[in-house]
Amino acid sequence: MDSTRVIYKRPFSLGILFLILILLATMPFYVQPYLVILLSSIFMYVIITLSWTIFSGPTRYISLASAAFFGVGVYTSAILGQALPLPVVIVIGGLVSFILALFIGLLTLRLRGMYFIIFTFGISELIRHFLLWWEANFTGTVGRWVVIVDNTTVYYVMLVIFIMALLTAYLIRRSRFGLALRSIGEYEEAATHIGINATVVKTTAFAISAFFMGLAGAIMATRWTYIDPRIAFDPLFSFMPVLMAIFGGTGQLYGPIFGAAIFAYLEEILITKFPYYYMLLFGTILIIVIMFLPHGLVGLVQKWRKGGSRR
């Protein structure tokens, strides 16, 4: 009964999706420049959160290495930005993150639960502190300038990365690969027993998710114009996607997207309206969400839908 309803509804929701995309693509022509900048930052968080969910959602391995992958993209952009054209720089940023994630993935095969969380956090902090030390001792200057790109370009690149990430996440969810990821999350031993190569599956998903974070970092760097390891590898980029994804709920694809969009918008509003109380409000909202919305917005929507159908 349920499945027939979903099939029946699909063309309808596809149409809405298409409409939203057209709206987003034409946005820079009729809105204020400020809104374009705001939307680019929201897209940045949405991309990071969505790609975090590609790996951590189904497998339930909470990764705190997002800052490392994002920061690698930022640094690629800063180092290669002057020498190569923008699209090449961005793709390289993604690829370097991809390779780094393959490497980390192969190292962390044995780690689970809290150990995995702590390890991923440690590796991203290690990169940050090592770069700080390296820049202070060998390159002589901590911090770099990045080639500036105009805001509209940044916006469109973010939009394209977002669509790519969304498409990838959608295809993975519907594929055998996605099922394998989910079965690892449910019960890893059982998954290996039915012939899933958990190592390969996990590492691949981890690297794919890192790829999009690297892309986002590479384009975001051009908007910051100046970067240093503290900005590029800020641990907040590791924490935020986790919070945003849980706020949205990881059960459905739209969960992390709306979670990140609402959270990023909220952050922007809170920072501009209450600069001195921003973190206080943010922390309070976070605790309230965890206490009363354990399954995020998705859980709330599903609860509401169930209630609606029963009536």
């Binding site: 909470i62 190292l107 044995r110 780690l111 639960g113 809290m114 150990y115 969380i117 702590i118 390890f119 440690g122 590796i123 902090e125 290690l126 502190h129 090592f130 700080l132 030390w133 202070a136 001792n137 641990p235 924490f239 986790v242 919070l243 849980i246 001195y276 109380y277 921003y278 973190m279 206080l280 943010f282 922390g283 309070t284 976070l286 605790i287 965890i290 206490m291 354990p294």
Partner: protein, 290 residues
């Protein structure tokens, strides 16, 4: 040569003593209560800044502040666990889900406490000058406040160890750390013990704060660094092993001191390298069970 050696060793013991204190606190909260309290460092920061205010406004010595901050933070920690974390424990489907949600909730606490501290004390770097008279030990010169901090850190650690091994409550805590369900069957009031453990973790932060304020500079944003060091030490000693945390603290302090002697910029890098190698080679830590 000998003086450098003494310098490094005693410097390492001083850092190690403080690391041991803060790691024991985190170990109690995570090892027993399953709350990876990332706001642990904020409690330390609160202790340090309360000491600073008490000293500059009322002229109260940091050593007296120890007995004000410790119990004060114990109470705050106890109440937070009784309300927030016990609520999450009750509503979580599994212990794993509870570990995740409590981790996120403690991030919320981190933001709130740090923001409050920024509002009260502003973002400036502060320092205390308390008993910074030089004392010579076999030719190496140390400031008296650092030696006193070392003495107190070791004393508190030992006292805590005795509490844990010799008293009824200490035994209840260790039982709860081993196996909460069985401990409950044996008549341990698990809800009370877990809240006390969280409070004791905050108590350790409340002891570490004043000691840190005596010897290091401080800032309202300093908390996360101490939390990270505490996490490294807890993993080094073995998750859930309180004795391991004590030993691990001193080991990390000594390593830090040796590396700082070569290049101060590398000490955090060294911590992370040790940490990552440890997780790869022996994730259960020095004294942890596999």
């Amino acid at each position: 040569m000998f003086i450098t050696f003494l310098d490094v060793v005693i410097g390492g013991l001083i850092m190690g003593g403080i690391y041991a204190l803060i790691a024991v606190g985190l170990s109690l909260q995570y090892g027993v209560g399953r709350v990876l309290n990332v706001s642990h460092g904020e409690f330390i920061m609160l202790g340090a800044f309360a000491t600073w205010s008490l000293y500059t406004v009322f002229g109260i010595s940091p050593l007296v502040s120890l007995i004000i901050c410790g119990p004060g933070l114990f109470l705050i920690g106890f109440l937070i666990h009784r309300t927030l974390f016990q609520y999450l424990r009750g509503t979580s489907e599994s212990i794993g889900a509870f570990a995740d949600s409590s981790l996120l909730a403690s991030f919320g606490l981190l933001f709130i406490i740090q923001n409050l501290a920024l509002l009260i004390w502003k973002a400036d770097i502060r320092g205390l000058s308390y008993l910074n008279v030089p004392v010579s030990i076999l030719g190496a010169i140390f400031e008296a406040n650092r030696l006193i901090a070392l003495l107190f850190a070791v004393g508190i650690s030992l006292a805590f160890y005795i509490f844990l091994t010799r008293t009824r409550l200490g035994k209840a805590i260790r039982a709860a750390a081993e196996d909460p369900a069985t401990a409950q069957v044996m008549g341990v009031n698990i809800r009370r013990v877990l809240a006390i453990c969280f409070g004791l973790g905050a108590l350790m932060a409340g002891f570490a704060g004043p000691l840190i304020s005596m010897i290091y500079e401080m800032q309202p944003t300093m908390g996360l660094e101490y939390t990270i060091i505490a996490i490294i030490v807890v993993v080094l000693g073995g998750l859930g092993s309180i004795t391991g945390s004590l030993i691990g603290g001193f080991i990390l302090g000594l390593i830090g001191s040796v590396v700082t002697n070569f290049d101060p910029g590398l000490s955090l890098v060294a911590y992370y390298v040790i940490f990552i190698l440890l997780l790869l080679v022996r994730p259960t830590g020095l004294l942890g069970k596999s």
